[in-house]
Symmetry: C2
Subunit: 161 residues, 2 copies
């Protein structure tokens, strides 16, 4: 069975007991979360978010460069006034370099992706510091509280950086 079929079955259960059909479009807690796409990190469970609470932006590494379009829309059109960044231990972004993945794609898919920055990093803590700094310095991002965390996939804990 494809995962698509499985999620349709799971969704039928969710919809059967659904009671949140009147939530407003703007996030109630006025916060945008930027987190890694990693399968072991569920931002809602890890951070205690309910439906309607927060924008959740996710990508490989939880990198803000790749989240800028979404952050601008979140702040300018939907009123969020705080940003929380969550990277995590054992991240896949620690395991490769641009050269490695570009070489793999050249060999396997016969495509040149030298123009794509895959945004890997060598130091977890520094990756969070870099992303907080990048947002604080961006003229396109409002001057709002920005907090960075490392999520420990081994313990379930977030640790402020």
């Amino acid at each position: 069975m494809s995962v698509a079929k499985e999620v349709e079955v799971a969704n039928a259960k969710y919809a059967a007991s659904f009671t949140k059909g009147d939530l407003a479009l703007p996030p109630q807690r006025k916060v945008a979360i930027v987190a890694c796409m990693d399968a072991r990190l569920d931002p809602a469970r890890v951070l205690g978010l309910e439906e309607g609470d927060a924008h959740v932006i996710r990508n490989a590494g939880g990198r803000v460069t790749d989240a800028l379009r979404s952050i601008i829309i979140s702040q300018q059109l939907l009123g969020t006034r705080e940003i929380i960044i969550v990277h995590h231990t054992d991240c896949g972004m620690l395991t490769f370099t641009d050269e490695v993945i570009r070489g793999k794609i050249r060999a396997d898919l016969h495509q040149n992706v030298d123009h794509i920055a895959f945004l890997p990093f060598g130091d977890l803590k520094q990756s969070v510091l870099d992303d907080v700094k990048s947002l604080k310095e961006s003229p396109l991002v409002l001057d709002v509280p920005i907090t960075g965390y490392l999520y420990e996939v081994e313990t379930g804990k977030i640790v402020k950086v």
Copy 2:
């Protein structure tokens, strides 16, 4: 209290009963979800995902253009072999145009962002079809099952497009 302080409190509860410290890095169900950042849509709950199951990539609108870097990493380095796209009713992306948001940023932040495509759309169903097609045609994306859904924020149901 900042939301950051609140999520620290919520996380202490999550970590106290955490039992999933030995999950593998690659997603167990070999699927990447691309979904909107909307606060009302919790992909894990809506689709029945547990920690460790799936990559979850989220951005404003759930647009694949903005998810390509992450999808490539997901497939090439972490072995996912299916993609599920989830857009939703009452999406903020239906409420503006590039001209509107560029004008707002020019007026409020005194910045020129004419180079940023904010990827709004006028038709929900078409936005899903466009994104499925875009991935199917991309030479950087593997030939895997790709399914598109609209999540109904009013009912909790997903509807295949």
